[in-house]
């Protein structure tokens, strides 16, 4: 009989690479486990639309399966999809990308980010990124052997990244600046001026800007600025985008990278050995989304816009100060007045009122004192969650 310890449950029998061990163990694991044990939770902790994918997009994928379109595509992705994507980028940002050499279809922005890091970093090289930031940013840098250098951003500045602060972090090992606006977790959007200043720094020091623009379509009352479309920035930018958030396609896992051809060639090399190609049916669906998804996307954004106002006003009325998030579908209120840490707040709120929010500390040190509340959920749930949070906060207000 094999004993439990022989299975290695608590032993150090299996060697795990240093690189993997370097990844933060995600203190939030405990919170996830707690969450799984409680029934009837209203979750503001999600990171995806509450809509199903628009039916015309789903239908196009079903049809492709029925027709037997079930083989690999070219490593770069289906030519029609790359052509349509080139048209899309031209139409929206006046950007010219060659669909044969400058575009790569990936398994979500997640893969594109990983490829970008592995393609450009040598061991010990540095990537500058804002704090707080999406959880995969530093992880991908570390997995590629690089070092993540974080630049604090603050609520007072609407969580915009300051070019001067970025410049102060540049060393001879710096290779790139990684940004993602509209931002997860803050909902911040960078103004055109502020992002142009970052671009200027990148150009001046010969750095790449890796710009995760997955939330590009989700902006409210402001325009999204595409980094690659700023003057002379195309050759300094790896633009990452996808379909998940705007077209409610998270589960399809489909995204893209647009970059100078030498970089796309390098990323494609890794992609062809690790992924071969993005799933074919998801590529078909993405093509349909680009061709005729604009209207469904706009309707969803309009609806998120309404919920955003309700969420932000509700949080402010409760007394949790919340800067106005102009993009994505997150509000990032300060919970400092309760005297709790983000994790304590999230855990107590879950236990006492069955509302799930994500502790801001999961996204970096500057996220401490904040929680992420996603408003991509039904209006009824938002209102009920706000009622419960209000009760919770008035109980825990520090006198």
């Amino acid at each position: 009989m094999v004993s439990k310890s022989k299975l290695g449950v608590h032993s150090k029998k299996y060697h795990i690479s240093k690189r993997t061990n370097q990844l933060s163990p995600s203190g939030i694991r405990k919170f996830f486990d707690l969450l799984a044990s409680i029934e009837g939770v209203i979750s503001l902790g999600v990171g995806e639309p509450d809509y199903a994918t628009p039916w015309h997009i789903v239908e196009s994928a079903i049809e492709s399966l029925e027709k037997g379109q079930t083989m690999y595509t070219s490593n770069l992705g289906m030519p029609e999809l790359r052509q349509e994507l080139a048209r899309y980028l031209q139409h929206h940002y006046d950007l010219q990308y060659d669909p044969n050499t400058e575009l790569l279809i990936t398994v979500g922005v997640s893969e594109a980010l990983d490829l970008a890091m592995r393609a450009i970093l040598d061991p010990g090289e540095e990537v500058i990124m804002p704090d707080p930031h999406y959880v995969a940013y530093d992880a991908c840098v570390i997995l590629a052997g690089g070092k993540a250098v974080t630049v604090p951003t603050y609520e007072e500045d609407s969580f915009e990244l300051s070019a001067a602060d970025v410049e102060a972090c540049i060393t001879d090992k710096t290779r790139a600046i990684l940004i993602g606006y509209p931002a997860n977790p803050t909902g911040a959007v960078m103004s055109r001026e502020k992002i142009a200043e970052i671009a200027e720094v990148a150009r001046h020091y010969g750095l790449l800007v890796i710009s995760d623009e997955i939330y590009a379509k989700l902006v409210y009352g402001v325009e999204h600025t595409c980094v690659a479309a700023l003057p002379d920035m195309k050759e300094h930018t790896i633009l990452l985008g996808g379909f998940s958030k705007a077209y409610a396609m998270t589960g399809w896992r489909i995204g893209y990278a647009a970059a100078p051809k030498e970089i796309i060639a390098a990323m494609t090399k890794i992609h062809q050995y690790t992924m071969m190609c993005a799933p074919t049916m998801a590529q078909v669906a993405a093509l349909e989304a680009l061709r005729s998804g604009e209207e469904s996307a706009a309707e969803m954004v309009e609806d998120y816009g309404r919920r955003r106002l309700v969420m932000v006003k509700g949080l402010c009325d409760i007394g949790l100060s919340c800067f106005e998030p102009k993009g994505a579908f997150y509000a990032f209120p300060s919970i400092k007045k309760t005297g709790m840490t983000s994790e304590e707040f999230a855990e107590a709120l879950l236990k006492e009122e069955k509302v799930a929010v994500v502790p801001g500390s999961a996204f970096g040190d500057c996220g401490e004192g904040y929680v992420r509340c996603c408003y991509a959920t039904s209006m009824a749930d938002i209102e009920e969650a706000l009622t419960r949070i209000k009760r919770f906060v008035s109980r825990h207000q520090r006198s």
Partner: protein, 160 residues
């Protein structure tokens, strides 16, 4: 601005002016004023529920009736249409292009009642030439709402 309010109400007629004000950033007084005006000028016709009658023991029979008309002098189709839509059994009446002129949706308690309506009332109206009655066997979607089998899709409760 009125359009925003109408979209919200069309999706959920119970949304209160206070909620609409929060959702749109308009003042509650302005929302209330626009709704009042919309009701007055019949931009909003009525607030009602979409009922799935199959869930209750109350037999309802639905029929789609295609009606061919002879236009009446001076008044065209409108007066014939009016004589038809005045009957409370008619739920929807449209003038349509194609092989027939009026599309009439009728609800009754039994096949018999609908047969009576068609043979005793509808076909006797002056200007009605021909009718084709089609009984509804199953309602899949009603006024934009899936009637049966709409499943809640479960999302992961927390995703970073």
């Amino acid at each position: 601005m009125l359009n925003d309010i109408l979209k919200i109400l069309e999706n959920d007629a119970r949304t209160t002016p206070k909620q609409i004000a929060e959702m749109t950033g308009m003042s509650q007084a302005e929302v209330s004023r626009l709704i009042k005006q919309a009701l007055k000028d019949r931009t909003i016709l009525k607030y009602k529920a979409i009922v799935n009658w199959d869930q209750v023991e109350d037999e309802h029979v639905w029929a789609l009736i295609e009606v061919k008309l002879t236009p009446q002098k001076d008044v065209g189709f409108d007066s014939v249409a009016e004589r038809i839509y005045r009957f409370p059994q008619t739920r929807t009446v449209y003038l349509v292009s194609g092989t027939y002129d009026l599309f009439v949706l009728v609800v009754g308690k039994s096949n018999h009642e609908i047969a009576d309506f068609v043979s005793q009332k509808l076909s006797h109206i002056e200007g009605v030439n021909e009718t084709v009655t089609q009984f509804v066997l199953k309602r899949y979607k009603e006024d934009g709402e899936i009637v049966e089998g709409k499943e809640e899709v479960k999302r992961q409760p927390v995703i970073l």
